[in-house]
C-alpha cells in the first residue's frame, strides 16, 4: 500500500504543555524525525533536531540548565531560542561560529499542546472549547499504523458518538451522547510513515467528579481501536 506522504508544512501536536516541565528534556518523533523538546527557565519551549551538530549525539540525553541545552558528549552549550552554540569547553576562549548551531524546528504552544512543524506551516487547527467547559486529557495512545488509517478509522465512528467530524485532515471531533454530553477531540501526530500517536481530550460542561470511569472508558475504546488497526495491518 502506498499513500501520498504527509506534508511537512503544517503543525502537529507533540505533547501536552504541562508535560514539558522545567529542567527536563523530552523526546518526540514527527514524520520520522526525532525532536528534543525542552523548556527554558523563562518558560520558552524549544524543539530541536535530536542530534548535536558536532558529533551526532542525541540532545535528549543532554542537560537542560535553564538557559542552554548541554550536550552530554563534549559539554557544548546551545542557547534557548536560536540553538546557537555559546560555549565549547575544549576551547573556552573561542566564540563559536554561526555554523555551530542546533537545528531548530518551529514550535508553538496553543490550547494546552506543544505543536511543531518541520516545514513552513499554515494555520493551526482550531480547538474551540466553550469557556465554561471543562476538559480532561486522555492518555496518548501510540498505534503502529499510518496516520491516515487512524484518521479514517476514527472518521468511520467512535463508541457513543452521535457523529464524528473532520476539522482538518488529522484533527477530528466526536460529538458525544450519553453520560457526558460534549465532544472528544482527537489530535493525530504522525511519528513516521507507519506509526501515529493519538492525543485526545474530552470536553464537556458536565464532567463527572473524579473522571476516572470516563478515562477508563475512552482508554478502552482507543486501545481497542489500536488493537484492531494493528491486527488489520499485520494481516494484510
Amino acid at each position: 500500500m502506498s499513500e501520498a506522504s504527509v506534508s511537512q508544512d503544517r503543525w502537529f501536536p507533540l505533547m501536552r504543555s504541562e508535560e514539558l516541565v522545567p529542567r527536563h528534556v523530552a523526546q518526540a518523533r514527527l514524520l520520522g524525525q526525532e525532536i528534543a523538546l525542552w523548556r527554558d527557565d523563562a518558560g520558552r519551549a524549544n524543539g530541536w533536531e535530536n542530534r548535536c551538530p558536532h558529533r551526532g549525539v542525541r540532545l535528549s540525553i543532554g542537560i537542560n540548565d535553564g538557559l542552554h541545552l548541554r550536550c552530554q558528549y563534549h559539554g557544548w552549550r546551545f542557547a534557548s531560542g536560536s540553538g546557537q552554540c555559546s560555549f565549547i569547553p575544549a576551547h573556552p576562549d573561542l566564540v563559536p561560529a554561526e555554523a555551530f548551531r542546533a537545528h531548530v524546528y518551529r514550535l508553538i504552544e496553543r490550547d494546552g499542546y506543544v505543536w511543531a512543524s518541520l516545514g513552513n506551516p499554515l494555520t493551526l487547527p482550531s480547538i474551540d472549547i466553550p469557556s465554561r467547559w471543562q476538559s480532561i486529557t486522555l492518555r496518548s495512545i501510540a498505534v503502529n499504523v499510518a496516520v491516515r488509517s487512524v484518521a479514517a478509522a476514527l472518521d468511520s465512528g467512535y463508541p457513543d458518538a452521535a457523529t464524528v467530524s473532520v476539522i482538518d485532515e488529522f484533527t477530528l471531533r466526536a460529538e458525544m451522547t450519553g453520560q457526558e454530553p460534549g465532544f472528544v477531540l482527537f489530535l493525530l501526530q504522525p511519528m513516521s510513515d507507519a506509526a501515529c500517536l493519538i492525543h485526545a481530550l474530552v470536553a464537556s460542561d458536565l464532567l463527572p467528579g473524579d473522571g476516572l470511569s470516563l478515562l477508563r472508558r475512552h482508554n478502552a475504546a482507543l486501545t481497542a481501536l489500536r488493537d484492531r488497526l494493528e491486527a488489520e495491518a499485520g494481516a494484510s
Binding site: E34, V57, R58, Q72, I88, P89, A90, H91
Partner: protein, 289 residues
C-alpha cells in the same frame, strides 16, 4: 579467490581483507569452541586439547587464517594483503599486558574508534577521572599521516587528569599520543604515572559485527606492579562504560565521512583526519560514505 565472492556487496575490499580480533586468547580454554559474528558472518573458534586454534565461517568450508597477537585471536574473511600491525611496547618484559575486556556496542566500528581518539570528551564524559571541567581546554597538537606506515598519528596531546590510571596518586598533565594503524583499531600512548620517560599503552581493537554493531576489545600494556589484573580490567571497563551510552546515542550509528555532515572544532583534528583517512583508503563499512 577465497570466500570473497559470497559476501555481502556492502563489505568493501579494504574491510574484507583486514585482520580482526575475534576473541581474547586468555578467554578461550583448551579444549573449547566459541561462536561470534564478524562482518555479518558467523564464526566458530575452536581450541583443541593440544592448544591449536582453528576458525571456520559457519556455512562455508575451509579454515580461516589465524594470528595470535596482543592477547587476542585475529582472523580475516578476505585475503589479507599485509601483516597485522605491531605494538613493540607489548614485548617489553616489565609490562603488564592484559586483555581488559570485550564489550558489545550498538555503534559502528568507526564510531567506536573515533570515540577512543576523542580528546574533548575526556573532561566531560570521564569527569574526575580522565579530566576535570575546570581544565577542559585542549591545546593544539600535532597531527599527521606517517610516511612510513600511512598511519594516523596525533602527538603532543595534553590533558589534565586527576586519575589518569589506577596507580596515579595525584592529578597531572598527561601527554597522549594516538596511532591509528588499522581502520578499526587505535592505540593510545599516555604518560606513565610512575615513570615519566615511558608510556602506558591502551588499545581499542574493534570487531565489526555488522555495520551498526561492534565488539570493542580492549588491550592494556601498562607499567603497574601494584594493581591486580582484576582491578586494571575493572578500571578500563568502568571508563568504557561511560562511553557506551554516548556511542549508542550517536545518530546515525555509522560514521559520516562527508566533512559537512558533522561540524568539527579544532580539538577534533584527529577525528577529522581519521575520517579523511578512511575515505581515502576506500573504507565504507560502518560509514556513511
Amino acid at each position: 579467490m577465497g570466500l570473497a565472492g559470497s559476501f555481502s556487496a556492502s563489505i568493501d575490499p579494504v574491510a574484507l581483507d583486514a585482520w580482526y580480533p575475534v576473541w581474547a586468547d586468555s578467554e578461550l580454554p583448551s579444549p573449547a569452541a566459541r561462536r561470534t559474528v564478524l562482518l555479518e558472518t558467523e564464526l566458530q573458534i575452536t581450541r583443541s586439547r593440544g592448544g591449536n586454534i582453528a576458525i571456520r565461517a559457519l556455512e562455508r568450508s575451509g579454515e580461516l587464517p589465524v594470528i595470535r597477537r596482543f592477547g587476542y585471536i585475529w582472523t580475516s574473511l578476505g585475503n589479507p594483503t599485509r601483516d597485522l600491525f605491531q605494538i613493540p611496547e607489548f614485548d617489553e618484559p616489565d609490562r603488564r599486558n592484559l586483555a581488559a575486556g570485550s564489550i558489545g556496542v550498538r555503534a559502528s566500528a568507526p564510531r567506536t574508534v573515533e570515540n577512543f581518539l576523542d580528546l574533548g570528551h575526556l573532561p566531560i564524559v570521564h569527569v574526575n577521572y580522565l579530566g576535570i571541567e575546570q581544565k577542559a581546554e585542549i591545546k593544539p597538537y600535532d597531527i599527521q599521516i606517517t610516511e612510513a606506515d600511512g598511519e594516523v598519528l596525533a602527538r603532543n596531546c595534553r590533558v589534565y587528569q586527576p586519575q589518569a590510571s589506577l596507580v596515579a596518586t595525584a592529578g597531572f598533565e598527561v601527554e597522549y599520543t594516538y596511532r591509528v594503524p588499522h581502520p578499526y583499531c587505535a592505540i593510545l600512548y599516555k604518560s606513565s604515572a610512575i615513570d615519566a620517560a615511558r608510556s602506558d599503552v591502551i588499545a581499542i581493537l574493534v570487531q565489526p559485527v555488522d555495520q551498526d554493531r561492534s565488539i570493542a576489545h580492549m588491550m592494556v600494556s601498562v607499567l603497574d606492579d601494584q594493581s591486580s589484573d582484576k582491578a586494571i580490567r575493572a578500571f578500563q571497563q568502568f571508563i568504557f562504560g561511560q562511553d557506551k551510552p554516548i556511542l549508542e546515542n550517536q545518530v546515525p550509528t555509522r560514521l559520516p565521512l562527508d566533512p559537512r555532515a558533522e561540524i568539527p572544532a579544532r580539538v577534533d583534528a584527529t577525528s577529522s583526519m581519521y575520517r579523511r583517512w578512511l575515505r581515502a583508503q576506500g573504507v565504507r563499512y560502518g560509514t556513511v560514505p
